[in-house]
Every structure is written in C-alpha cells, then in structure tokens.
C-alpha cells in the first residue's frame, strides 16, 4: 500500500493514480449505485456458470474416473477441451448463439467444465474399493453410495476445483462481458479503458477482488471445515 502510494507520488502520472484517487473513484461509483449494479450482474453470471460447470464437470469426472473404458476413449477429447483457448470458445458461442445472455453463460461454463472434470476424475480413480464393497454388501444403493461413500472421498478434489474454478470463472466472465454484454464489471472496465480512466479500472478491480475474497472466507472455507471435521 505504502509502496503503491510512493510509486504513484514519484511517477505522478495519470497512468498510475495513487490510492487516494482510486478510493475517490470507488466512492463515487458506490454512491452513484453503478458499482453495485454492475458487480451484482457480474456476480450473478459467475454464480450461474460456476454452478453449472461444477455440477456438469463433477458428473463427467466421476463417470470417467469410474469407467476406465470411457476414460480411455474420451481422454483425448478432454485434453483438447482443456487446452481450447477461452477466447475461441467465447467468440464461437457469440457467433453461433448471438450476443445473448445464454451464449455468455454457456461460453464461461464450457471453459470451466474440463478443469473440473480432470480434477474430479483423479479423485474418482482413487476411490477406495474396500468401502465400495462394504456399500455393496450392505446394499446402500446408488444414491447412498454416492452421498456417503464416494462423495466424501471426492471432497478434497471438488474443493480444489471450486477454488481454482472460482478464480478462472470470474476472469472469463469479465472477458465475456467485455466482448458482448452491455453491463457488468467487464463492460465497465472496457468503458474506462476507452476513457483511459485508470483510477476507475483499479477501483472496480479492487471492489471485485474484495467480493471474491468474501466468497472464499464466508462460503468456501466454512464448507471445507465442515467437510473435514472428521479428520483427527
């Protein structure tokens, strides 16, 4: 913070505004209600595409991890999907489905699914055979086995992909907004870029990072603690 302030003071340029200017921009945006509106819209997009990607990616991961045959077949496709540049997916989605909300969400979700699938697959591969046999003998059935036997073993993997996933998703959401939406933090950043309003760009960035930190502290960490309560 002090370093930033000192650097801004020395350079004294509009390319690197000091903390004071950024704070002022932040306050201005907050008072006008703009910050609020755009951050909420972006968060909604993040929430929807993150949830979709986690659910679909986890399902694919479990399936591939449990069925070596299918895994062998789809492995190449997964690598392909994993390395598809995010920008290509976004552009293709916008071209094919138009500059719509659905296209935006779809682009983000498709970007994230392979990461989740690959991580969860590693977990599903190492599921304990002994416990699965136990569940079979005691006739747990599919749902009980998934919830009480397999799920908890996948938890560290799901948690890891949720962490990296959240970071990836919100960054991609900004790009998607920049390219084809008329609201959200990404759109605002684009606007400020054209105006060379660096103080506002930094203000929005800070606001959003704070929000994501909140999600980490108040959602992900408590969930992790609850899931790991049993560890001695």
């Amino acid at each position: 913070m002090a370093l930033w302030w000192l650097a801004a003071l020395l350079i004294d340029s509009r390319n690197l505004p000091g903390p004071g200017a950024v704070l002022a921009a932040l306050g201005e945006a907050a008072v006008s209600g703009e910050l609020h509106t755009h951050v909420l819209i972006t968060l909604a997009r993040v929430a929807v595409s993150f949830t979709l990607a986690m659910v679909i990616g986890t399902a694919i991961g479990i399936f591939l991890g449990r069925k070596p045959g299918a895994d062998h077949f789809f492995d190449g496709w997964l690598i392909l999907a994993l390395n598809m540049p995010a920008l290509v997916t976004i552009i293709l989605c916008y071209i094919w489905f138009g500059l719509t909300e659905v296209a935006a969400i779809l682009a983000v979700t498709v970007n994230k699914i392979p990461n989740v699938a690959v991580t969860v697959r590693e977990g599903a591969r190492t599921v304990s055979r002994e416990l699965t046999e136990m569940a079979q003998v005691y006739r747990f059935g599919r749902w009980k086995t998934l919830r009480h036997v397999i799920g908890p073993q996948l938890n560290p993997f799901i948690s890891a992909s949720a962490r990296t996933g959240l970071a990836l998703v919100w960054k991609i959401v900004l790009v998607v907004e920049l390219l084809g939406r008329s609201n959200g933090v990404g759109f605002q950043l684009h606007l400020f870029f054209q105006l060379f309003d660096i103080a506002s760009i930094l203000a929005y960035a800070i606001a959003f990072i704070v929000v994501v930190q909140m999600i980490e502290i108040f959602l992900l960490q408590p969930w992790d603690r609850a899931a790991n309560r049993w560890r001695p």
Partner: protein, 255 residues
C-alpha cells in the same frame, strides 16, 4: 435342509499387470445348517477371503454354485478383516446408514451401540477410536442388518489377546439372542475351537477341503485354555498367521 450350499469347482484369478494368475479355490464343497457357527480354518493366502467374497456376491467370476435358502441373501452381513467404517461418518451414522430413518431406526442404533459397549462414543468418528472399538462398531453395524447369515473375515486379528477375547465373548453373547448362521474365517485354531460348532479345515492354494471337525466342547470347556489346547492338539493342524497389513488399518488401500 441346509441354509447355505457351496459348491465351487474353480475360482481363478487371471494374470494382471504385475501378478501372475492363480487358482484360488478348486473343488470346494460344503453346506451349512440354519444357526450353525462354522469356522473356516486354513493357512495364510489359501483363498479364505476369496470364499467369503464369493458368498457375499462381491465377485461373480467363478465356476460352480453358491445357493442361500430363500430370504437369507437379503439379510447378509459381512465383518471384514479391517473395520471398513466410513471415516467421515460418526459411529452412529455408520450404523444408521443401514436402517430406515425415523424413531424406530434411531432406537435400534442406540440399542446396538449399547450392546457392543460403545455408549458415549456414538458421536465419535472412527479415527478417534482404538482398533478394538472400531471392530466393535463394525460388529454393531453387521447386526443392524438383522443378519440371518454373518460372514466374518478374521474380525479380531491384530488386537491384543485380551481385547480379542472380550470381543469373542461379546459375539457369543449377541449370537445367543439372535440365532444366525456364522461363517468365521481364521488361521487361529484355538479361536476356531472356542467359537465353532464345526470347523472346516482348508489346505493351501488352491483352497480345498481337507478335514471337517465337529466341536463338541461344552460352553464351560470352551473357556478353559487347557481343554481348548488339548482339543486343538488332538484334532486340528496349526497354521501361521496371515501376514498382517494386507488390508491397511483404515481400509483405504486398494487390494
């Protein structure tokens, strides 16, 4: 009319990556009557666990036939060589998972936990318990199934003798109230003589039946180490224990 008929012509494990294939069981036939306690005594690695897995229906790849009298398969419980409790569920939850929710189920779980002497530990996670206590919980879980047949794979191995003795007494006590067919795998001939109505002696790989011994000792005689020793000496061969650690203590390694 026997409750369980086993007739396995051949159980072969095909070769896999590093391991060569081997014949686990060949020409094994026996039957077990209702509420009979049968010990299966044999040397290490002779296919005893394989036999229980086949009876439990965990492995369908064999030649032969295993038939359970009507309704028994639905009430089958299996106490594994390691407790195989879910480490992320409490003792109570581990047992309750086998039962319907609701008051009746809760009542049964409480009763079972008391029966194995784990009152006060029902909300503990398995990792917080000693191995002996985990084995008690696994026993309680097995009885939550309301079993008509109970498969036990060296369930008291790697406990000190006093703890194993207490668990054997507990098992006898529970069984007195709920007559159940028990197939109890062990390499310890004294344990077999203490518990069984009948002992099936198996030879090493592939497993085949070499002898069948009926235990006629009275309940009092079974608690007398000298008489057990004498009975074993006269009737049963000795076997070295299974090398421990084939299943890791927490049930998380793959075998």
């Amino acid at each position: 009319m026997s409750a369980l008929n086993v007739s396995i012509t051949r159980k072969f494990y095909p070769p896999r990556a590093a391991a060569a294939g081997h014949l686990a069981i060949a020409g094994l036939e026996f039957s077990v009557a209702e509420s009979e306690f049968v010990c299966i005594l044999g040397p290490s690695g002779c296919g005893k666990t394989t036999l229980l897995n086949l009876i439990a229906g965990l492995d369908g790849g064999y030649e032969g036939q295993i038939s359970l009298a009507g309704g028994i398969a639905e009430h089958l419980a299996y106490v594994f060589q390691t407790p195989r409790l879910l480490p992320w569920r409490t003792v109570r939850e581990n047992i309750a998972l086998l039962l319907d929710h609701g008051e009746a189920g809760t009542h049964i779980v409480t009763g079972l936990i008391a029966a194995v002497g784990l009152e006060g530990f029902s909300d503990a996670y398995p990792g917080q318990l000693s191995l002996g206590m985990q084995r008690r919980a696994a026993l309680a879980r097995a009885f939550a199934r309301d079993p008509r047949i109970l498969l036990m794979d060296e369930p008291f191995v790697s406990l000190d003798e006093a703890a194993a003795e207490r668990l054997r007494a507990l098992l006898i006590e529970i069984l007195a109230e709920r007559p159940t067919i028990v197939l109890f795998v062990t390499h310890d001939r004294r344990e077999a003589a203490k518990l069984a109505d009948r002992i099936l002696v198996l030879s090493g790989a592939p497993a085949t039946l070499v002898d069948e011994v009926r235990v006629t000792l009275s309940p009092a005689a079974r608690t007398d180490p000298d008489r057990i020793e004498a009975f074993c000496h006269k009737n049963l061969p000795t076997f070295v224990p299974d090398p421990g650690g084939r299943e890791a203590a927490n049930g998380r390694t793959k075998t």
